[in-house]
């Protein structure tokens, strides 16, 4: 039995990152190295004994909305399952964010144990915001040949989640498991029989996903666009040329990015042949031709980026969207996803599994959060174009389900759907008439989310016939959803109330970053969606608050934040401020934010504040398409739990689910886990 101190560092023994993986694989003359069939994990245990647990992880499935759908007769399969067993709310983590809650599902631990407390954490040395799910590790040995640097040993991404995944206990007992797309599972964990990495999986060029947009319209202006690149192109005789941006070429000494921020990135040229008369275009890239009508997405297109001629290539996949041919040519390209057939990063276990799926159902989105919310937020794609993308993602995910469900015999089948989360984020305002931006949304898609719930009902309908005494079906979500109409700039509030100080001279900047903060005069700062850190002596590199003062400070901050009122609405933006000791325990506690700000439905931390910025307003209108959210006080956005067997525990929590699954297989609760079985009182 593992102790609570076990650490999962599933990437530690892997081949390192893109550059080396691509180099080594190709140097070995084998794209198929990744496709070598690996033996199934088998530990000589008793096996599943014919027992099955099916978990549908429907991210963000809201219990209130589902109840309304059931009451309206639009979710008959959910209703049937509820009658068969149980349907209710599922307690979640604070913050109620996917990486946090699903990490608790994976490990059975609270964030103080598994160490993931937000999407964004901070480096205590620099205070810079950092990604909380994984981090790259430099190679142990690099062969330097002038400007060429060949990684020979070590390196690659490392998962930062601690604690053993619950399915590894199944593996110990010889029980097979399939784990598809669960968040915080990048690099993909190797303790399941088959697994596909989920939220947190990067694209080839950037951890969060970088779209590309090519336009001939010089009047289109995207001065502060994030999550993508905008390129202004020329058309001559109906022919335009562009370059697709790939990963940074880590094999060569980087050049200065002062004049060209993308100078170190690999690039693949392509040509666009526009046919304005037919409102269509042809794109030629690496010997492939793609023909699109206006408004169409292409199928996946495989693109090879060259790090080093002959020996070093990495493979990515993209979809093109022809937005317009006349009067302007406008082309959107999705982030370059890791090719599941020739993996430049560990996205499936075994690697041959990704190739097998791609061969059977085609290439698929490997980026952890597939829908391009940034492109939608910044107006690169509109509501209709987002919905088309969302439909493609859902169709692909359902094909993946069908592919795997047909092969499932026994053990664990975990299947995750991101659409219920991402589409609720992006299309909430279309549905919610009370949302302040409702009128500015495309009302043709007002019913999209409810239609999506109907699609989920069909998914449940596929699984229901399999349920019997030996087959447990659990449907769960990590949180619910509410409106996000107004944004609270936490760091601006901290600055205005004397908790956060800026360096002299930067006050005039309309927006500051963590680099502009004067740490010698700052006692508290916000990083992440809910995190509020004390600038603590002995922990932060420039900490000034000692332990004695910290207690008084967090009490004051909690009191003041909870007492705030939005002058425009009269509402309290902050519903509850949680002290970390209330909600966390475990060895990771000292590094966690002292306070977790739980917002009132309708409010959320402003995006810029999430990364430590300050601005003008403390509370203002949320301008983004991202209009539904769940980073509120956890009790106000509970998840959903449906079980084919009656739930006996009074207030089930997401942390109870792994214990319950192990219990169903007759495995005792591991010592590291906090929860208890939901099937026992």
């Amino acid at each position: 039995m593992a102790s609570g101190n076990d650490t999962t560092r599933s990437g530690a023994s892997r081949p390192p990152g893109i550059g080396r993986r691509g180099f080594v694989k190709l140097a070995a003359g084998s794209l198929g190295a990744a496709a070598m069939p690996l033996p199934l994990l088998s530990c000589g245990g008793p096996g599943a004994g014919g027992r099955k647990v099916v978990v549908l992880g429907l991210d963000g499935l809201d219990p209130n909305m589902l109840r309304a759908m059931i009451d309206a007769g639009r979710a008959p399969n959910f209703a049937k399952l509820a009658r068969m067993g149980s349907f209710g709310r599922l307690g979640t983590t604070m913050p109620a964010l996917s990486p946090v809650a699903w990490s608790s599902f994976i490990t059975g631990q609270n964030p103080g144990g598994h160490g993931i407390a937000d999407f964004i954490a901070r480096d205590p040395e620099t205070h810079d915001p950092v990604f909380s799910i994984w981090e790259p590790q430099a190679p142990d040995f690099v062969l330097d040949l002038g400007d060429l640097h060949l990684p020979i040993k070590g390196g690659g991404p490392i998962n930062l989640r601690r604690g053993r995944p619950f399915w590894s206990y199944l593996t110990d007992q010889g029980i097979p498991s399939f784990v598809s797309k669960i968040p915080t599972n990048y690099p993909v964990d190797e303790t399941a029989t088959y697994a596909i990495s989920g939220m947190g999986t990067p694209d080839l060029a950037d951890a969060y996903g970088m779209f590309a947009y090519y336009t001939t319209d010089e009047f289109e202006d995207f001065p502060e666009v994030e999550g993508g690149n905008v390129f202004y192109i020329d058309v001559q005789d109906n022919v335009a040329a562009g370059e697709l941006i790939g990963p940074v070429n880590s094999l060569w000494t980087p050049q200065s990015t002062r004049h060209d921020p993308l100078i170190n990135n690999t690039k693949v040229p392509f040509k666009i042949y526009r046919d304005p008369a037919r409102d269509a275009a042809r794109i030629d890239i690496q010997g492939q031709s793609i023909v699109l009508r206006r408004g169409e997405y292409s199928d996946w297109v495989r693109v090879q980026f060259t790090l080093m001629p002959v020996l070093g290539e990495v493979s990515g996949i993209v979809r093109f969207l022809l937005k317009e041919t006349r009067p302007h040519l406008k082309l959107y390209v999705t982030p370059v996803n890791i090719d599941p057939e020739h993996q430049a990063g560990p996205v499936t276990y075994p690697a041959s599994f990704g190739a097998e799926i791609a061969r059977d159902i085609g290439a698929f989105w490997t980026k952890g959060l597939p829908a391009d919310t940034k492109a939608f937020d910044y107006g690169i794609i509109n509501d209709e174009e987002y919905v088309k993308q969302a439909e493609l993602i859902l169709r692909e995910r359902m094909a993946l389900f069908d592919h795997q469900w047909a092969r499932f015999k026994e053990g664990l089948f975990y299947f995750y759907v991101s659409s219920t989360d991402q589409d609720a984020h992006m299309l909430w305002r279309n549905m919610d008439e009370t949302h302040p931006m409702h009128d500015r949304s495309d009302l043709r898609f007002a019913g999209y989310l409810k239609d999506l719930y109907e699609e989920m009902d069909k998914l449940v309908g596929k699984v229901l016939p399999a349920v019997d005494d030996d087959t447990l079906l659990l449907i769960c979500s990590d949180h619910g959803f509410v409106s996000f109409g107004r944004q609270f700039h936490l760091n601006t509030w901290l600055r205005d109330n004397g908790y956060l100080a800026l360096k002299p001279g930067v006050e005039k900047k309309p927006e500051t970053s963590v680099r502009d903060i004067d740490w010698s005069r700052t006692v508290a700062y916000g990083i992440g969606f809910n995190g509020l850190y004390v600038n603590r002596k002995g922990r932060e590199a420039h900490g000034i608050v000692d332990d004695e003062r910290a207690g008084e400070l967090v009490a004051r901050l909690s009191r003041e934040l909870e007492g705030l009122t939005d002058p425009e609405t009269g509402q309290r933006p902050v519903a509850k401020v949680y002290r970390r000791e209330e909600v966390y325990s475990g060895e990771m506690l000292p590094g966690m934010p002292e306070l977790l700000v739980g917002y009132t439905p309708g409010y959320r931390c402003a995006s810029r504040s999430v990364i430590g910025s300050t601005g003008d307003a403390t509370i203002d209108l949320n301008p983004w398409a991202w209009s539904g959210d769940h980073s509120m006080a956890r009790d106000l956005v509970p998840g959903t739990l449906l079980s084919s067997q009656p739930v006996r525990k009074a207030k089930p929590n997401i942390v109870d689910l792994p214990v319950s699954i192990l219990d169903f297989f007759g495995i005792e609760r591991p010592g590291q886990m906090d929860g208890t079985s939901i099937f026992r009182t």
Binding site: R278, L292, D299, R359
Partner: protein, 280 residues
Amino acid sequence: MARTAVKILNLGLGKLFDLLVWPFRSLDPIWALLAISLLAGVMALWIFGKVSDQERIRRVRDRIRGNVIGIRLFGDDIGLLLRLQGRILWDTLVYMRYALVPTLVLIVPFLLILTQANLRFSVRPLQPGEATVVKARLAEDPAGGGAGEPVLEVPEGLVVETPGVTSAELREMAWRVRAEAPGTYLVTVRAGGERVAKQIVVGGGWGAVSPLRTGESVVDMLLYPGEIPIAADSVVRAIEVSYPDLPVTVFGWRVHWLIILFAGVIVFAFAFRGMLGVEI
């Protein structure tokens, strides 16, 4: 005359290869490739034996072997070592001269084998649901209007999803076509009063799949033997269909079919040289 000969040759070879791969049609393509390698290796060995001066090759190989032994025996005598290495180098060049003519002779059958293998192992048929792009290369700008706008006609089982996209620069028109049902179809490009057909194969694992139907030059006919060439004076110069690559794997490793074919030829040629009494 030459064109007729190439046509007949392509037809005959096509039938021969169809017959050769027929027993392996339900297996992984690697087995058909190995069978072709075996026959090609034995054939190459036999031709090599017939057109080369076997006695001279044997002598020069013996000299090289003797000098290699000399290097092992007299490794401490630098002067002798250099002389022996010089002789080996010279004899190697002599050997290459003796092998030149048979190698040139072998190029012809191997070119024919490669074009037939390329037809079968480079790409795979489309699968139902997959899309492809059909490109028609024309004698003049398709948007020029001289011969009227080219039109693509497809039979049931295929669907044209886009209008034809013209490219004056390439003198091409391109359509996206989606396969709906398995079958071997003929799509037709109608342009300038002419109708030119092109085969599209949907369904099945692997087999003869021709991505390009092109003109009547002898070289084109040799390189693209899968379909009857288009008449030289046609307004349609070529029709191309994009097919996905055929993955050929060896113990799970994806390897280009050309490497497998050549490796197989070498291995089988060495394996049978004793049986056929050929010195290579």
